[in-house]
Amino acid sequence: MAPEIAPRTATVELTFSPLPVHVRTARLIATAVARRGGVEEALLDEVRLAVGEACSRAVEAHQQQCPAEPVRVELRDGADRFEVVVTDRVPNDDPAAGGTPEVSPDLAELNGNLNLGFAVIAGLADDVNISSTPSGVEITMSWPAKKD
């Protein structure tokens, strides 16, 4: 009797130092896993951009609060959804706030007095959940995926 095969649910995990240069790497990996996971080509640009926005936000938060801690990205290839979870380690950070008082004017201009990042994520991801916990902020996004 053949062994029972588990449902095809792969998870790729990525952690990276909170440096802007690594955000592109996270985008590329997320896009590759999404493509392999059955996300339509037309949606891959949205995955790439939304993951980049979430990672940029996490990198900025870590650089201000905990530069030694890595940013974590989980890519979950589910039965009918491709899910991405970006987690930072900045406790009780309000992701909807327009920046903390310690943010330099330069950084604020670069990344977000306008909160454009969240506007982009909300506009692109098919489903978004943002939760702020004592251990950090978790952004969960997902898109439909088709399995052959």
Partner: protein, 117 residues
């Protein structure tokens, strides 16, 4: 990929900034420095040609908005050339299509500028 930024000024005093590559949290400071440098040199009418931009995120949008604020302080302008749907979509999502003049080509932007005068 690196971000390439270059500029030239037309005979009608419009400074065209050609941008090529990906504009994200890592590369956006390069574009920001270019915009600040041009304003410091007295170039207040800017046109950013984004036809060769392969990726743009909110950091890049923030830099463009910052540039617009700077030139407006001198009664200047900052407009864009962009026909790529995937880039235009980001401007639409964030409502910035109402903030920037967006043209199909440098010639179109220059023509519009002549009409405004």
């Amino acid at each position: 990929m690196d971000l390439k930024v270059s500029d030239y000024t037309t005979d009608d005093d419009l400074t065209v900034i050609n941008v090529e590559g990906e504009i994200d949290v890592y590369t956006a400071p390069k574009l920001r420095e270019k915009l600040i440098d041009l304003v410091n040199k007295g170039k207040y009418h800017l046109l950013v040609d984004m036809e060769k931009v392969e990726f743009l995120d909110s950091t890049g949008l923030g830099v463009l908005v910052g540039g617009l604020k700077r030139v407006r302080a001198h009664d200047g302008s900052l407009e864009l050339v962009c026909t790529q749907e995937r880039i235009l979509k980001i401007f639409r999502i964030t409502g910035l299509t109402k903030v920037f003049g967006i043209f199909d080509s440098v010639d179109d932007a220059r023509e519009n500028r002549k009409k405004q005068k």
